[in-house]
Symmetry: D3
Subunit: 291 residues, 6 copies
């Protein structure tokens, strides 16, 4: 069960409204790598966790923290939207936009047009659970497989993509209040990248998981002859310069080899005609059939 403290985890107050930036900020609220995604991902991983309790508790700690991040960013967006212009030239005669564009120099309609229109029409000046192009958040962004190594690898990815996006947004505003919140978010992402890297190492130390994941699948049940081969499928051999092309593999169980001119291991497939009642096109004319 959950409790809510009305205080924000960190400040979320811009120096001034900026409805155009509010549109961009939606990406780290309701985008694929935004706060809603990590919140739901960590909570579901925690709720579904069948592993040791320290992992379950840790997942629910961070999942609960992320709800507060959603709250912070949502609050910031609502504040950035204050005073968003609904239309141009409110106390003057209206200038049709096309005419204005062909001859005038007024940009007021343009600001109104460059907004996310749903910030006015749908949420009425509030945050939307969508990304920066208005695409709604979907639970396909929630990853919880039951395998902690596979999932923690996802988590370190999510904290990397998320920190990357905040770093990019940092460069797209000079508002000190927004940047203050970003400084908090960047630092938490730093923590969380470190946290998941530590947790991945701990899974291995605990003897629970290792590379290749899932490590509980027996290696001799896979086709070991292709387990460490690099296939050069694109012209040029620049890829041979990488450490993935030779030497011991990171899992310590083999050596990379480089197939410079790979050949298919099988034959060209042919499919027989299907059931005539499916009316797929057959190799040669057939009589009609209804059912």
């Amino acid at each position: 069960m959950f409790y809510h403290d009305k205080r924000l985890q960190y400040h979320a107050r811009p120096d001034a409204p900026d409805p155009l930036f509010a549109r961009k900020l939606q990406e780290v609220l309701g985008g694929q790598w935004g706060e809603m995604s990590v919140m739901m991902t960590y909570l579901f991983q925690g709720w579904n966790c069948r592993g040791p309790m320290k992992y379950r508790d840790m997942l629910l700690d961070i999942g609960t923290e992320e709800i507060a991040h959603v709250e912070m960013v949502a609050t910031m967006i609502a504040r950035l939207l204050e005073g968003a212009p609904l239309k141009a030239q409110e106390d003057a005669a209206r200038i049709p936009i096309v005419g204005a564009v062909m001859g005038g120099d007024d940009t007021r309609d343009l600001v109104a047009a460059a907004l996310n229109p749903q910030h006015l029409i749908v949420s009425g000046g509030g945050a939307l659970p969508s990304d920066s192009v208005g695409f709604p958040w979907t639970s396909r962004y929630t990853i919880a497989s039951g395998n902690l190594l596979a999932d923690f690898r996802f988590n370190v990815t999510a904290e990397s993509q998320g920190r990357l996006q905040v770093a990019r947004l940092f460069a797209q505003t000079e508002d000190k209040g927004v940047r203050d919140m970003f400084r908090f978010m960047l630092a938490r992402d730093t923590m969380h990248q470190n946290q998941w890297i530590a947790a991945i190492a701990e899974l291995e130390r605990d003897g629970l998981e290792t590379t290749p994941a899932p490590s509980t699948f027996p290696l001799d049940s896979e086709l070991r002859e292709v387990s460490y081969q690099f296939w050069n499928m694109s012209s040029g051999t620049e890829s041979a310069d990488g450490s993935w092309a030779s030497g011991t593999t990171p899992d310590g169980k083999g050596s990379f080899t480089y197939l410079e001119a790979p050949e298919p291991m099988s034959e060209a497939p042919e499919l027989p005609p299907g059931d005539p009642r499916l009316h797929g096109t057959p190799p040669m004319p057939i009589p009609p059939v209804a059912g």
Copy 2:
């Protein structure tokens, strides 16, 4: 530009049709962690790559290989669908299903019903670009951020989740032909997990990226005081037992601390009334306004 060799990269021939398994196999073709996802992810990462050529070439090598994996799994599905029953009791009088269920013991209608109906109605016995519940593949599964560390971390995740799903499917069939293809896929996923782990290390050796990603964002621009704090937001302190709660952080730039009873760092927010023309509910009654 691309060329196609009609031979399959590896065998994709089941011992016998199994339309129910075909439905499940769709997950690793058109699911979130299926072959279509890694194919498009690696190709877009390669096409958008602005880093060293060895990484670009490597991405296009593996992206091109993955098209062949899509081809293999699609072919397998088409073969598993051969002979799928369209309906029950074809040469006998029809027994209404509800009646059959209440008194009979015939399961033929049930097999027809448990199929993915689109395998018959939509694709007519062919593979669908969808997952095991029929949800269509979406390009939100394609990740290409321009930051190779963030993306390679995604890639190792994708190969982990993908290998996990194939391992699970392996346990859900005993068809030797299907398992033979799985043995190849499992091995390639082993290779690719190793490949991305090696590539992540190489990015660091090349001085291009490190933790926290993106490493080109200056650390002193983030709020360092919270960069290594673990916040205990869920009752109980089992999470204090993990290596993420104390000791040097994996990035080597700090030490984890454990906040056992964290408090908010900010205040409860209040939002002012919005523009009255947006007709949000205000704190107190206001006069009507039209525009």
Copy 3:
């Protein structure tokens, strides 16, 4: 079966084209609370209706009217799009946009850019079945549960959200022709809010439905001890000031109570290890298994 009269239900002629407003107007055509949603919702409720004929007929009356609303708004959008600029400075030398922005003062490219690009590229100057951010209409906006009280409550919501959005759009244009159509739409939404409120009361008078819906589920089969408790889960007790915190409940079957410091009624759950063949992470190391 349906018949079409080519005359529009009401006027849909703007004073002047305004392609930027056309983008916004899409919200009440193909958005979540737009005309397509109420049209499909009422038609499906009508077609699926198993209740008294007066409700079924009423649903098909209003559902059929809403098709005409879709037609009106679509026509308006097509007219607003006339003369939309395809690009800037057609009879002059091209000024690259970035250069123009850094040094020039021309806004023509900007108007072209602020349009919904699909109005030019996809529909070629016609209405799109999408909302104001270009997200396609989805049938998840169609609600038809078979329970008329649950559905009529949705309907009064839909007419409220829809009227709210038109009222907001009214403030974002001064075009007299557009506002004339809005005046019609606002009035019909007034009618329809009243209609659904009346219908909800009539369901109760008819003895068919009441609060809590569905009223055909026996109350003694629910856990009555929590049926009228308000749980104060967020810090502060401002919520105790509402009529939902004390007094007789609207259904007349109980009294509200206010739990100021609620406690969980159950225990912390633990999940046992799963089937090892699913390769979820277990509480302690286990031997490999393939299938």
Copy 4:
């Protein structure tokens, strides 16, 4: 900010696993009217609220409670999935499914096939953030318009549809543990229907909102002559028997009238040819144009 207590709000323990019912139960977790929807809806309404504090606090109270409901249902699903069969006849020779169907009487493969396959392949025995057909939860289910009357009407709808679905599921299982949780959920939905009905009345008493919503839009700006007309668009006049066809309207501002044979109020529209560079089909042949 949020805190988590590991204890569940209410019990979520089935008497026995039932993976087929787990698939159905997903509807009230990740479906359109499931717990995720009300959780996100109430939280966003609370975070965006610009009205009186008692409403904001109340929204955050209930929004926080709903996170616990998500937790409960997710836990129940994980428990129902224990022991789900991966495939048939594990310690016997495999019988191909088609053959079995044509001659056999074994239903084990069928159970495995009737599961949501993603419960095994994707979540590995855990809850999914999806509905009963596997469709992922989308934030389009989150409604927060800034207008409390419009939104509270949605909320009473959500609690009605949600209670309806739980009541239906109640009839589809006899597991006492599942029914126990349902009895709690049904009661809370009873509370919440009453709560929103009370809150709607309170908004009106507070002078903040009334019918038609939004009440801050001036009535004389709408086309009053059609504000209370019922248009009979479907053959037959059964709809004239309803209270929506005559008498005083619920908003007390008019009287219903019944248009038995409605006529369009406008004319048939015609659209002029578009810009030739859009290559739409014109009324008569035109010369080619490139740009």
Copy 5:
């Protein structure tokens, strides 16, 4: 504006309920090629039509007819769902499904499980606006480009895919009532395939459109040297046997040629480093930058 006649365009009465077939029938109601798609496609093409009136009228004729098809199929689905089993063994002791599967021979739970669960939980025995796997209808299935040749080609496709799906479903039921409706639908699809083929020819006779569409784009603005070349990109030359490899082209403006061993016409691209504030990985190490 539209009027509704309560009579169905054609009969929609099954001989007996069949809830499993109802699930399949959803494909031609709310699937990609179902009745909702052609209804919305033809209506939008009509409303957006800027060409000769005979085409606009014809589009609105057929679009209006298709609403009646939606109505028919929805009615049929509701009737097929009558008596759908909610659970097994209603007047007997409950047998847990897993146990039943391991040892029993009862199929009642299985029928309930093989249903589309939303037919019970969501629509309560009514039609859903979804396809046979429960995926909701989306307006991306609505095609209306403004170019009548491009669109009529889509329309003949839609009538072909639609008729194909009905023909497949015809073989999956023996219910005489269902087949009777199918016989009507198949015939109307025959009409509509013919209608669109006739309309395509008429566009050409009218001088409005021809191949290649759009014919109003000047041919000398395209790169004519590749306008009739077949590129053999897949191993083997079986494709050289087709009429697309040699001879006069259908547009009468050229001759097909067959490139047996095609070579790229351009060079390998390289991308320069991006803006450092986007934190993409550069070709060589760079100093940190924040904004």
Copy 6:
């Protein structure tokens, strides 16, 4: 299996960056009728093909070519995005956007705002697998039914819609490099329209398919009396002027007739009450029931 040649099929180099045009160009990369759609459609049609080998080979030829088109357009987009402005006035004091709009004349913020924000935040200056409004590509754009006539009709549509969109974009830029690539794409679309028209004719010559598709369904199993009737459902009879209203039908198997005043062929449906445990609203009050 596939091989990649790093050279592009054709040039993809703009004269100058144009990030606003990059946003539009996404339509023909990741839009419904973009290169990703035809690539996946042709590959799936090829992989699933059960007809003569010349068709299968041809499909794989063109499917493989289309991967190269995706590569070209993606490269072009990445190049158009170079130098995209992150924000305005980088070395000057910040002017809040609303203030600037009300009094200033600076358009720099506006350009940054009119971009697709995901080009900066998500892909960091690379192509996205989305359309021009940012909607992600979905595999519902992939059509592969197994019936070659139905599918080839789709293919000629796709090449028509695709060529139409490129022709429209051609008019929206004057960049010579972009137009050079468009000239190649337009020509290939010309080829492919001709190719599919030729292939359709060849299917008929081969005796495999004809109108109405699927031709393997026996005509006497459809309701022939309505197979060639045009139903005039919209007021006015302009549609009687078309060749679809009289004369021999294109399939040569009948004659069109024109029903000027069509009447329904069936009766008004009524639905009986449903299972009371589904809690749908019945025609008259019923007692409560739980399960």
